[in-house]
Amino acid sequence: MINTGTAISEVFERTRRERRAALIPYVTAGHPRLTSLPELVQAMNDGGADIIEIGIPFSDPLADGPILQKAATKALSNGVKIRDILRDTEALSARSVPIVYLTYFNPVFHFGVRKFLEIAQNSGVTGIIIPDLPWAESQEVFDDTQDLGISLIPLVAPTSTDQHISSLEKATGFIYGVSVTGVTGVREDVDAGLKVLIDRVKQHVSLPLAIGFGISTPDQAAYVGKMADGVIVGSALVRLIDQDWSRAATRAQEFVASLRHALSN
């Protein structure tokens, strides 16, 4: 058996030594242009990302707010296909920090779960996040990911029970903590209840905990980074990319660098 989650746990071991949270930026594949992914992945690497999340767009992204919905719609109308994303990833993963996918269950199910995970693993993908596949429904997918040495990244939400949180002990990679009850998006403030959620998770599980949903600015990243092991930034980055396509890569790199700077201080 392949040692699941090694690449990801090495990242968190390093960032812990450096006394900072890991930075996990997200982009949607196929957005803003069909061919944007390679330069954006490069830009996020250059900006100092520790793990990179690549979104495989889905027509009905029910965990996403307006920015990521719009990006998915754009990517699909650009004609992006799962096989193209897998192929691009294969070319990118060798010279990138660890890559994880974020997608919804239907595209994976339709492709064939095992087949999808095998190709993803061959392409160098280290983890997969499926926001509409809750932990209680994920046994078969979990078994396949374990088999192949990919991490199925579980989610916890402010509403999650202690029983759910405890059941994540068998997971690998990291835990994705959803900062609010809600969907992805840019928010003014970080939810006051976040500390409670982080403490509850830490009490039950030893796996690194990265927080996402609504973290939009370097200040917010720094604030969350003091409590959590990782900070996930999606909508704010995608919105920035969407504002000026011609300078998407430069702006992505600058923004990621500003987040990284905030986490390192």
Partner: protein, 399 residues
């Protein structure tokens, strides 16, 4: 005939179908809902209040009557179960009364719903008004334009209609948006789903609230004929009226026929015949059949009937299809329109376009049904007043 295994199982599975494919945030809310529903089911007080409202507010039982002229014309017995005579004009209200009672019992102050053509939105707004609750109804921008009258109806009833501009701007997107709202306001909000779709326990709960249709039809048919019908025919979009009438007959030797919308024809790709086209997938919280492309992206559905215009279908229908207990057929827009006219002229009943699909299948299969000396019950799920304008427009003003 062998008794069917009772579904769903405790995990909300109908064979491999069903389940709970929603964000982790909602899982505790679904557990809470399952518990509250199961307590309500065992509470005679809840059941008595539900039954009393169905009788005195909705107007149940609805009649079952032999359609004499249609039967003469076709050469076999056709009976109509008159769900069109319910308050608000369709079966939808059976379910919304049940769910609003449950919301009140759970102490949820805020009601949300999705709607396509507006029928479920109107039924939700109605039930919410009855209990002084505030309802917000998500409706695709396209549908808001096409169904302006139903938007006004909901507003008259005190509900707020929220137009949805994402995706294809229709029912599927309104449902996405309602789920997003629920994820955000999960602690205070009750989500009233309009069909036998969504994450467990919704498909089971909606089926049970609608099963009054079949329970009545069973007794009424016995009383009229002393026996059982040979066929039950009902339209299938998400599938709530059909599950409602099928359920009481599941263990009897009665053919159960669900009629899907073939739109402009299955081979044109412009249809809503989810089971007929036969690809499994996950949408809005459950595994079932799903209209989708080669990459697993959900395809827009098409039907002249707005209520059938949905790319998914309830997981129990997927299961009944897979085990062969029910049979799923599809009729085109044109066949449904012909049936719409025919029933209006023969019986003095203008059917909803959804219900006209069931009538159309019976007309289409008449040769076979005549040979079998069939006794058919058609579930006339709603009245056609809402469709009169769009049919007139579609047919260029020619009656």
């Amino acid at each position: 005939m062998a008794t069917m295994k009772e579904v769903p199982d405790e995990r909300g599975r109908y064979g491999l179908f069903g389940g709970r494919y929603v964000p982790e945030t909602l899982i505790p809310a679904l557990d809470e809902l399952s518990d509250a529903y199961s307590q309500a089911q065992n509470d005679p007080g809840f059941q008595a209040e539900f039954t009393s409202l169905l009788k005195d507010y909705v107007g149940r039982p609805t009649p079952l009557r032999r359609a004499h002229r249609l039967s003469e014309a076709l050469g076999f017995d056709v009976y109509l179960k008159r769900e069109d005579l319910n308050h608000t004009g369709a079966h939808k209200i059976n379910n919304t009364i049940g769910q609003i009672l449950l919301a009140r019992r759970m102490g949820k102050s805020r009601i949300i719903a999705e709607t396509g053509a507006g029928q479920h939105g109107v039924a939700t707004a109605t039930a919410a008004a009855l209990f002084g609750l505030k309802a917000q109804v998500y409706m695709g921008e396209e549908d808001v334009k096409r169904q302006a009258l139903n938007v006004y109806r909901m507003q008259l009833l005190g509900a707020e209609v929220i137009p949805v501009a994402s995706g294809s701007k229709t029912l599927k997107d309104a449902t996405n948006e309602a789920i997003r709202d629920w994820v955000t306001n999960v602690r205070s909000t009750f989500y009233v789903i309009g069909s036998v779709v969504g994450p467990h326990p919704y498909p089971m709960m909606v089926r049970n609230f609608q099963s009054v249709i079949g329970q009545e039809a069973y007794l009424q048919f016995q009383e009229l004929t002393g026996g059982l019908p040979t066929h039950i025919v009902a339209p299938v979009g998400g599938g709530s009226n059909s599950m409602g009438i099928f359920f009481a007959f599941r263990n009897d030797p009665v053919a159960l026929i669900g009629v899907e919308a073939a739109g402009e024809g299955i081979d044109t790709g412009k249809h809503a015949a989810t089971i007929t086209s036969g690809v499994k997938g996950i949408l809005h919280g459950s595994l079932s059949y799903l209209l989708q492309d080669d990459d697993g992206q959900v395809m827009p559905a098409h039907s002249v009937s707005a209520g059938l215009d949905y790319p998914g279908v309830g997981p129990e229908h997927a299961y009944l299809h897979d085990i062969g207990r029910a049979q799923y057929e599809a009729v085109t827009d044109q066949e449904a329109l012909d049936a719409f006219h025919r029933l209006s002229k023969l019986e003095g009943i203008i059917p909803a376009l959804e219900s006209a699909h069931a009538v159309a299948w019976v007309i289409k299969a008449q040769h076979d049904l005549r040979q079998k000396k069939a006794k058919v019950i058609i579930n006339l799920s709603g009245r056609g007043d809402k469709d009169v304008d769009s049919v007139r427009e579609y047919e260029g003003g020619q009656p």
